[in-house]
Symmetry: C2
Subunit: 312 residues, 2 copies
Amino acid sequence: MKVVALAGGVGGARLADGLAQALPAGDLAVIVNTGDDFEHLGLHISPDLDTVCYTLAGLANSITGWGRASETWQALETLSTLGGPSWFRLGDRDLGLHLERTRRLRRGDTLSVITQGFCRQWGVSSLILPMSDDPVPTWVSTTEGELPFQEYFVHRQCHPQVTGFRFEGVQQARPAPGVLDALHAATMIVICPSNPWVSIDPILAVPGILPAIQSAAAPIIAVSPIIAGQAVKGPAAKMYAELGIEPSARSVALHYGNLLSGIVIDIQDRNLAPGLATGRLEVYITDSIMKSPGDRLRLAREVIDLGVRILG
Amino acid sequence: MKVVALAGGVGGARLADGLAQALPAGDLAVIVNTGDDFEHLGLHISPDLDTVCYTLAGLANSITGWGRASETWQALETLSTLGGPSWFRLGDRDLGLHLERTRRLRRGDTLSVITQGFCRQWGVSSLILPMSDDPVPTWVSTTEGELPFQEYFVHRQCHPQVTGFRFEGVQQARPAPGVLDALHAATMIVICPSNPWVSIDPILAVPGILPAIQSAAAPIIAVSPIIAGQAVKGPAAKMYAELGIEPSARSVALHYGNLLSGIVIDIQDRNLAPGLATGRLEVYITDSIMKSPGDRLRLAREVIDLGVRILG
């Protein structure tokens, strides 16, 4: 069983962690969105990649979902006292990673090689792959103009009304080494409960990735990030509404369309199941909110079981 | 009374702090060596400037003399765990300053403007001036080849045998704004007990500074950093010996030569006084080791009194 998960930040990281726990070591590859990567204070920051890595390494802050557990904030506090920009919350331990990653990028190492080096150091046995080693910054079109993703997401706290998205440079981007191999070898592909617009779509937009998913001899299962019309975390539901689409698990299923062979929806959305289930789409209903590490493992097992059932 | 002090790191910072305490607010300007500035982990680091600023702001680590009090080390520990270079000890609070300074330098602010902004924030009433806003990196010639200063000083812990020094780019460097004005207005110039070779000589090598000192209508008083043949801190004595010069307060006096109108030597070196005192050079003997904040103030007052006496 070779599982490939596509993931953005917190929700994606949690399901990826469940999958890593459920599968034998080495049987999981996670392809992570890097569209929200940006340079800040001269440092290369990869928020989704770090959230996935910290989570799988057991280092994540379990309350916020992002950043590290037992974090301290001395550097940011000092910078702030001196008048520097503190809107992007960088903890001291987190900074240590950003400094080292940026140092290695400057000497010519790739993001994927650096990430795998860090994961080896942390004893993470899953393969964590940035979607691309090339920069593909997400821009959010809003009624206030186009904003870099972190400016929209963190600095403006998702307040501006969204009208669309642009993945800059994506046509020139290449999948990171290992991404296409992992998809070709996959016996199951899981689209984690991440934001379809700004976490999963950037991955699918990298030339080569969508065709590799479509041609993989593997069921493709999405877990809806929308539950009872709301996103568990982040602006996905707000984005759907602002784009004139009803925020629902049904809209998530339509978003991915023919790509899916299965979708996992929350028990609160069980009334949507009859309208979704077709000969082509298996619908699985469960409690899909991951509060505890145990929830992650249970949901991951249910996703894997659904895939096995679809495989027949 | 307008006092200008020339200073390097710990010893210079301590006497500058004493002078700041002894003088009315605003009557002290400190011209600080930036020859040991370097880029590390993508950050612009100014070790001597930071030591002087931290000390005058009351933020310095009183045990080490460099770095900040109540410092934490989470970022460096993380970076080190990930395989990054940890030989240069950067604390978390210190990092916050380096990040903010580097950010401002990248947007085009000068080192002197940034430094004065930080000092305003900290309530430092003395004027702290980098010797130059232009880079003048010190290279140390050794029997093992030429080394960048911090490579010699911190990474190699001053082990290589010194044969000479080079201040790269110094011919093109301009004194930072305010430096020449401060020297022209000075009623007394103090050469702090800093390393003559790598703390004071780089300052004197910036075109315009030495002539301004020579033409100032002010006594010029050095405090010897060599006491009983040893440096209180750092490699000054080792450098003298390796260059074939006896490490002594006498050699310090000869180093500065005609520039000096007064020299302060330690009581342990009182036997040197008769050989030093000439019609041109006043010698003052005192306990010149600054262990406590009170020592700094007492020594500063003695230096000022000597200057007043020379002024007549």
